[in-house]
């Protein structure tokens, strides 16, 4: 069986800066994978390459066996990759429900179908009671979940979540982790960029560590925290204790 997502020797250069350096990894069809690393490690760039915000300078990206490197964002979305943005980007003049409906129009033109799918996605992330609210009334955790619901309503097979838990308090983050678990159980593959190692340990089954744009380790969370290079370069010696 082919892997859902496959990155082969992917690099991205911005002028003199090599933001992503020869990164290769594969994702299976389901479960939660975390992409971790210090600031500037190239996690978000990696995301943008997969989601088609810009093309890789070198290397190939395959989704379900199909090469997608260089495709525009909307085409990649339509193939089944949903994404959120690190800085939340709601459509300000639209309600919560309307925001979530936009993604559904990538597979239907029926407003009623889009509305149902959007409600379903909003229920899934716990925004069910706030569907008619205007964006300005949402709290930060709600906005993050709205981003997730927007991406979910495109009915993706792979969901890219860029720091959806950054800035959340521990109970809020725990609620998000529960949501992600439920989504993964439904057969969705989730790739997560995350800063907080504690959340990663809790949520992810598989962890990929980037450092200075390159992949330095990959494996189960237990393996990662005992990996000497990761501990030295990212977690710090204190983590071992």
């Amino acid at each position: 069986m082919t892997d859902l997502l496959e990155l082969n020797h992917v690099s991205r250069r911005f002028g003199g800066l090599l933001a992503v350096d020869n990164v290769s990894f594969r994702l299976k069809g389901e479960g939660i994978t975390a992409l971790v690393g210090p600031n500037g490690a190239g996690k978000t760039t990696c995301f943008n390459l997969i989601a088609g915000a810009f093309p890789p300078t070198e290397g190939s990206i395959k989704f379900g066996g199909q090469p997608i490197a260089g495709y525009p964002a909307e085409k990649i979305c339509r193939l089944g990759i949903g994404r959120t943005f690190q800085i939340v980007r709601p459509m300000r003049d639209m309600t919560v429900l309307e925001n979530a409906m936009v993604g559904a129009f990538s597979w239907t033109r029926k407003v009623s179908e889009a509305r149902d799918a959007a409600r379903e996605a909003l229920d899934m992330v716990g925004l069910g009671p706030k569907v008619e609210a205007s964006i300005s009334k949402l709290t930060l955790p709600d906005r993050k979940m709205l981003e997730t619901a927007k991406a979910l309503s495109t009915r993706p097979r792979l969901l890219l979540l860029d720091e959806v838990m950054a800035g959340l308090r521990p109970p809020e983050a725990a609620a998000v982790v529960a949501v992600l678990r439920r989504l993964a159980e439904k057969g969705l593959s989730i790739l997560l960029v995350e800063h907080v190692m504690r959340i990663v340990m809790e949520a992810a089954e598989h962890v990929i560590v980037l450092h200075h744009g390159a992949k330095i380790a990959e494996g189960t969370p237990q393996y990662i925290v005992s990996h000497p290079e990761v501990v030295a370069g990212y977690l710090g010696e204190g983590f071992r204790a």
Binding site: A73, E74, R89, K110
Partner: protein, 343 residues
């Protein structure tokens, strides 16, 4: 804040707007000739303004050269009718098709090379001015001397779209009605959602699968075709077409004032806005002439616009709807309270 500002969720809204149009239609048979001709022009600019407002208010694409499409529509009708004696209906269709093609080409060229936002707006000005200059030197379409429709004789004819002032009042009113309905329908359809998403954040909407390149071309060509119909009707009402008056920058600016004041992208905004701004312009220039102060209309007009945009940045129509909504909400809240007391 602006949510559902003119969505047509219930029968009441539909009935309300039908009633408003019934009143305007009834006025058509009682008003004096001056008001009839003034309102006819108001309606035509409303209709053209609706096309412009859809493009910016829903699609997020600013045009300051809508006179291009108005001119294409006007000349299509004038040439086919005056030179070949064809019914203006043919001219309307030909004008729509030509404007859609020109609009799509302009949009394609622009967006293909990532010309966005204000730079696209500059390109629309350039296109309109280019067309004006071409038409000014083109003998076949009358060049600077323009084209004149034959003088009206005989009874009103819907087929030839010729008639008296009252006839045009009703034609223009029907156009506005169609414009309001089309705007409302588009807003409620998937296009409305996708276009508003694209307007609010182009890159984020692309990540949600919106083919923005396609939709930007679509909104420009639909808006252009729509404006061409308005331009054709405007030519018929004025009885003549000249490059400077139908394709000039003045037209492009006159088009956008009503919708901005009334409420961008809404179904009724352009009508409310134009109903206020255009008569105000006429009134100010009449007073200016009487007092012997030429240009007073521009000063008054300008000040009124600044005031409107300052006080009601979203436009008159959304502000109106919000206050109505808060009134009904209060009443509903009151009912709820009473029921709870009864319990």
């Amino acid at each position: 804040m602006q949510k559902k500002r003119d969505a047509f969720p219930d029968l009441r809204a539909v009935l309300g707007s039908l009633a408003a149009f019934a009143v305007l239609a009834a006025l058509g048979s009682v008003l004096n000739p001056y008001l009839i001709s003034l309102l006819t022009i108001v309606f035509l600019f409303t209709f053209i303004g609706q096309s412009w407002s859809m493009m910016l208010g829903l699609g997020g694409q600013l045009s300051i050269g809508h006179a291009l499409f108005v001119g294409i529509g006007a000349y299509s009708i004038a040439v086919l009718n005056i030179r070949y004696g064809l019914s203006p209906w043919f001219g309307l269709v030909v004008g729509m098709i030509l404007a859609a093609i020109f609009g799509a080409s302009l949009a394609w060229l622009s967006f293909r090379f990532e010309v966005r936002g204000i730079y696209f707006a500059l390109l629309t000005i350039a296109a309109a001015e280019f067309a004006r200059i071409v038409f000014s030197g083109w003998e076949f379409v009358g060049a600077m001397q323009g084209l004149f429709f034959p003088a009206q004789s005989g009874s009103n004819s819907l087929w030839m779209l010729r008639g008296d002032a009252r006839f045009y009042y009703f034609v223009a009113l029907a156009a506005v009605f169609v414009g309001v309905s089309v705007t409302a329908v588009i807003r409620q359809s998937f296009l409305g959602y996708v276009w508003r998403a694209m307007r609010d954040d182009e890159d984020a909407s692309r990540a949600l699968g919106v083919r923005t390149f396609l939709h930007k071309i679509l909104v420009v060509s639909v808006s252009g075709a729509w404006a061409a119909v308005g331009g054709g009707l405007l030519a018929l009402v004025q009885g003549s077409v000249f490059p400077d008056s139908i394709m000039g920058m003045g037209i492009s600016v006159d088009i956008l004032v009503g919708p901005v004041v009334g409420g961008l992208g809404t179904a009724f905004g352009p009508l409310i806005g134009t109903l206020i701004t255009l008569p105000l312009d006429h009134l100010a220039s009449a007073i200016g002439n009487k007092l012997g102060i030429p240009g007073l209309n521009n000063v008054v007009y300008g000040l009124a616009l600044i005031a409107a945009v300052w006080l009601l940045p979203d436009g008159i129509w959304p502000a109106l709807m919000n206050s109505v909504k808060s009134l009904t909400r209060l009443r509903w809240f009151g009912n709820l309270q009473m029921q709870q007391v009864k319990k």
